[in-house]
């Protein structure tokens, strides 16, 4: 990617040089941004990397080098181990479900029809809502005493007694919580895939139709291969979101281990146990995991497309 600059024609450049050796204006314009990036992103990230090898406990000073001690303690904590499994499940369920739903919605919205723009607005709506409130919204649906799902299933005579969806079976709990997050992240995936769909030249579909290709065959052979770039970006953003899931399990399952995520563990370790070193170590591992898995998805799914 090249950054194009078009404003500097030679004459202006010469004039400006004559006035001042170094043009300070562009530096002035980017300075505030640079201060924020360096001070509140790069330095904190460096902090996390370095201090994960230190014992940093406000109640047990001083801060001292301790090698891989934090990492060793992480992997001997049961809650962390079970959260690794939980987070793995959140990722798999969330990425698969949101991608499949997004492809379905994007194909639905592909062609222009009456009311399409209103439908897009409705589709985007869950993206805009805070995760905490989405937790409250869906708690009313999953609730074991008064929830909508229990009520509907009873009305349809599918169950005799109200069921508990959250906090008993691990897989069911995680599925119910992850559906809430999928509700939030699917709109962006849908938009990304829609953008990819719009790049496909229409004659391809017309040619396929002339050749008597069935809708399913057209979807399998033309649409799906050509929207792979969109699907890749959608999966990577879903991956980053699901790996960092916090709001939804925090609200829907409290601190119960049945659904606790790695980000929740980072929070508990750092701000309840006040063991910052161990918290740093866990954040660092999650950052590395995010990058490795993202690259993996990129390698597996992405194929360059040319028209």
């Amino acid at each position: 990617m090249n950054i194009a600059t078009q404003s500097d024609n030679p004459r202006q450049l010469r004039r400006r040089r004559a006035r001042r050796r170094i043009d300070l204006l562009p530096y002035g314009l980017v300075l505030p941004l640079a201060i924020f990036i360096v001070g509140l992103a790069l330095i904190p990230a460096a902090f996390t990397i370095v201090q994960s090898f230190f014992t940093v406990q406000p109640l047990n000073p001083p801060t001292r080098f301790s090698g891989f001690d934090n990492f060793r303690r992480l992997f001997s904590t049961d809650a962390v181990i079970s959260s690794i499994g939980n987070t793995g499940l959140y990722i798999v369920i969330g990425v698969v479900l949101s991608t499949v739903l997004a492809i379905f919605m994007a194909v639905t919205l592909q062609k222009n029809f009456f009311g399409r723009s209103i439908l897009i607005a409705i589709m985007v709506l869950p993206w805009a809502l805070p995760g905490v409130v989405e937790g409250i919204v869906w708690a009313n649906i999953w609730n074991s005493n008064t929830g909508l799902l229990n009520s509907l299933l009873t009305s349809a005579h599918l169950i005799d007694n109200y069921q508990v969806f959250l906090g008993q079976h691990r897989l069911l709990t995680i599925l119910a919580i992850e559906i809430v997050q999928v509700w939030q992240i699917t709109p962006l995936s849908t938009l990304l895939i829609m953008a990819s769909l719009q790049n496909i030249p229409n004659d391809l579909f017309e040619a396929a139709e002339l050749d008597g290709s069935s809708p399913w065959a057209t979807f399998r052979r033309i649409t799906l291969p050509l929207i792979r770039p969109g699907i890749t970006i959608a999966m990577v953003q879903a991956l980053i979101q699901t790996l960092n899931v916090f709001d939804q399990p925090y609200i829907l399952n409290g601190s119960a281990t049945a659904g606790s995520s790695l980000t929740m563990q980072t929070y508990f370790i750092s701000f309840q146990n006040l063991d910052f070193g161990e918290g740093y170590a866990l954040s660092l591992l999650m950052a590395v995991a995010t990058m490795v898995i993202s690259l993996g998805v990129l390698k597996l799914v992405y194929r360059p497309v040319e028209f």
Partner: protein
């Protein structure tokens, strides 16, 4: 897909509507009922005697819960607005510089800014908390706004950069030929042309601010700065606040982003696509 049977699209349309709106309808439905009505089995699918009592007690009632809901609403509005304004001003300046000027170190800085977008959001959580503690900015609007800006500014710069690159250069050049300084060109030519992009970026930034939970949970310690999301989560965690009241609080917290998302949808869609496809 030309030959796609229309019934498939009809199912798709129905699915999108139900999937997006049923959960919102349901929280609205609960918020208009009394505790007794809400406990009915099977549930009331429409409120039997719709009443705004839950909303009234939150908005006008005395006591701790209504007070904290009202105060945290003020907090979230202040924090999101301030973060949006600062982000937009600083990101516009930087984006203009990146899009239209050449200077040593530009590429290094630009790619660094982009790289921070790939950071998992919470890798900086603990250090930011400790930096804010060190600066004495924990539990202040300033501290929260600074952290929000640092989180939102890379994406805002990227969206605005893409937007400014797509603007025709000719108008800016004629401005410079007429003897306007580059800052005058930015103010009188570029910013007015870039207004749709600025609006998109501002909306997206504001909505991101409204969604924040873990950062303010860590950075604010009492009701003087806690945003609505943190207060609602705390009320839910206590298990003493009735679900009907909690649902009403939830509806209050989604009104603003929902209205923005529905009314200004076009800006959101174009902004999100400018920010992610390249």
């Amino acid at each position: 897909m030309r030959g796609r049977t229309p019934w498939l699209r009809r199912i798709g349309v129905l699915f999108i509507v139900l999937w997006s709106l049923v959960p919102i309808y349901w929280v609205l439905n609960i918020s208009l009922q009394t505790d007794a009505q809400m406990s009915a089995k099977p549930a009331h699918y429409v409120p039997p005697t719709p009443s705004l009592n839950n909303y009234l007690s939150l908005l006008t009632g005395g006591g701790n819960v209504p007070y904290s809901i009202r105060q945290s609403t003020i907090n979230i509005v202040i924090e999101c607005s301030a973060a949006t304004i600062v982000t937009i001003v600083l990101a516009s300046l930087a984006a203009y510089s990146f899009a239209r000027m050449k200077f040593r170190g530009r590429n290094v800085l630009f790619y660094t800014v982009l790289a921070t977008m790939a950071f998992p959001p919470y890798i900086t959580l603990i250090p930011l908390y400790r930096i804010m503690t060190f600066l004495g900015l924990v539990n202040t609007y300033t501290g929260i706004v600074l952290v929000y800006v640092s989180g939102f500014i890379p994406l805002a710069t990227w969206i605005l950069y893409n937007y400014m690159l797509s603007l025709p250069i000719a108008l800016e050049e004629s401005g410079q030929v007429d003897g306007a300084s580059r800052m005058q060109v930015l103010w009188h030519v570029v910013l007015p042309l870039a207004r749709p992009g600025i609006v998109s970026t501002a909306i997206i930034t504001f909505i991101f601010g409204w969604q924040q939970f873990l950062f303010p949970l860590v950075l604010s310690s009492d009701i003087s700065t806690e945003p609505l999301t943190v207060v609602i989560a705390a009320l839910q965690g206590k298990h003493t606040v009735p679900y009907t009241l909690l649902s009403a609080a939830g509806v209050l917290a989604i009104v603003v982003p929902a209205v923005i998302a529905l009314a200004l949808n076009r800006y959101i869609v174009s902004g999100l696509l400018k920010g992610s496809v390249k």
